[in-house]
Amino acid sequence: MAAIEAHGLEREFKGGLKAVAGIDLAVEPGEVYGFLGPNGAGKTTTVRMLVTLLRPTGGSARVAGFDVAREPAAVRRRIGVALQEAALDNLMTGRELVELQATLHGFAPAKVAGRAAELIERVGLSEAQERRVGTYSGGMRRRLDLAMALIHEPEVLFLDEPTTGLDPTSRFTLWDEVRRLKGEGTTVFLTTQYLEEADQLADRVAIISAGKLVAEDTPAALKADIGHPHLNLTLAHGDYADAARTVVTEFGPLRDPDGEAHVAVELSQGATGIAGVVRALDEAGLVVEALELVEPTLDDVFLAKTGKHLEGADAPVEEAV
């Protein structure tokens, strides 16, 4: 039985605009499933439907074995959610919020304090727990949000852009937490804008664009499908170009160069192929003036799958935690 499944999931807004236009997916228990897409593609809408905040206008979805539209209460008992905007109350302290969450999830009064303390410890907020949430940094808010999402040991965890705006250290800490959860058998549904994040964490990745899934596979397969890194070479003399092309062609297919003295070749073996290319050109006596390695980006994946560029894929490095 899939941990999350959707069949023709749709959400239409007033005026006929379909934010989500028919999505089919199936996530296995214990899997980390990445959901990639630019802003406005329908990621958040899809998540909101799966966590029972929004009703699908078409199709259906089941989470942890229960239908999201017909059995929302059963779904809610089994899922943990950390949305893009940490859903917190600024006037309460961290501890109070986690304890409230524990009460809402049915922990007996005697157990509430202990369970809350456990989670607060786990996300590293023990020192700040008596302070009001309004004073927390962005990273701390995310961690508290995560503690609240995990309080009842959910089977399925939904993380909506969990590291957007975080500094690298906080990002790595969160990645470790996701790996740990996976180790414990929790299914994780992760939406993100960052290819690297999906690469590091996800067993499988789906790409959503304009409300539809346009690709779904393991990260390695997706990247390979789109392209390997390619090398842009600038040769010392324009005459060398043709000779160079003959030499490098054994390393991978040629790409269209721009300019006479330029050669571009795809490295089928990945970035490690650079050494080989350089050596081969050297042996042929062809002098290389400049060399640039270009990795496939999420943009390339997008461009290939949707014909459009992905906007705003760069991570602004923000808050220290």
Binding site: V51, T52, V81, E85, L88
Partner: protein, 254 residues
């Protein structure tokens, strides 16, 4: 069952706010008192007219109005707080908790019933200090029960608007609703002295019965004839507004 615990936890959170941001609560707590002083200062002479239950005592006559206003403001404030919770995303968390929608509503709305006692206390202390008539313990107890229930009804109204508009800018609509409900009654004068159109409106307005029920101890003695209509009106209002509020809550996300 777990539900009462959840309701109490949500109520505690709402009460918590008053302690955390006392400044914000002050205008609401003092407003009915200020209104009462102002009204009796300005219109006090009206009680010289024949027909007023206690000759020349406008103040005692309108204190009950202040009590109801306090209930109304408190209810409206509950809605504004919910709108803020919605804007900040905290409400999503409540929606995702495995808690029945009626428990969620009760927790939100019942806090108003307790909170309305703050402006009521301020009003009564000042009112008695200025010489208003003591309603007797029964009259007072009755008044408190009635305004607590009214506060919950007002909160249901405000919650409906908060869910519909999802923004704190709906605040003035919430306030106008309670303002109208409390003032378009026998607020300023006994029914006989009202202009015909207001007399008709006050007869149709169920809150008039609540006002009369609260007022009876202050201006005379508590009678069954004034008490049961007040409760009946509140029951009806609770069913209607509570029902609508619950429906709005259940339909969130459609």
């Amino acid at each position: 069952m777990r539900e009462p615990r959840v309701v109490w936890a949500l109520m505690r959170r709402a009460l918590n706010e008053i302690l955390r941001v006392p400044g914000a609560a002050i205008p609401g707590v003092l407003a009915p008192t200020i209104f009462m002083i102002g009204l009796s200062g300005v219109f006090g002479a009206a009680a010289k007219l024949r027909g007023f239950p206690i000759a020349d005592d406008f103040r005692t006559f309108i204190i009950p109005v202040g009590l109801l206003q306090g209930a109304g403001f408190t209810g409206a404030a509950t809605g504004v707080n919910l709108a803020r919770d919605i804007e900040q995303g905290w409400f999503d968390r409540l929606l995702m908790a495995p808690v029945g929608r009626s428990a969620l509503l009760a927790g939100t709305v019942l806090s108003a019933s307790l909170r309305c006692l703050l402006p009521a206390t301020a009003l009564l202390i000042v009112g008695f200090a200025l010489g208003a008539r003591w309603p007797g313990l029964l009259g007072l107890a009755l008044a408190i029960v009635l305004i607590s229930a009214l506060a919950a009804v007002a909160a249901c109204w405000a919650v409906m608007l908060a869910l519909r508009f999802r923004t704190q800018q709906a605040a003035s609509l919430m306030q106008i609703g309670t303002f109208v409900a409390v003032l378009f009654t026998t607020a300023y004068a006994p029914k006989r002295l009202l202009t015909p159109w207001l007399r008709d409106v006050s007869e149709l307005n169920p809150v008039t019965h609540v006002l009369e029920g609260v007022r009876q101890g202050f201006i005379g003695s508590v009678t069954w004839g004034k008490t049961w209509p007040a409760f009946a009106a509140l029951l009806g209002l609770t069913v209607v507004f509570g029902g609508f509020a619950l429906r709005s809550l259940t339909r969130v996300g459609r």
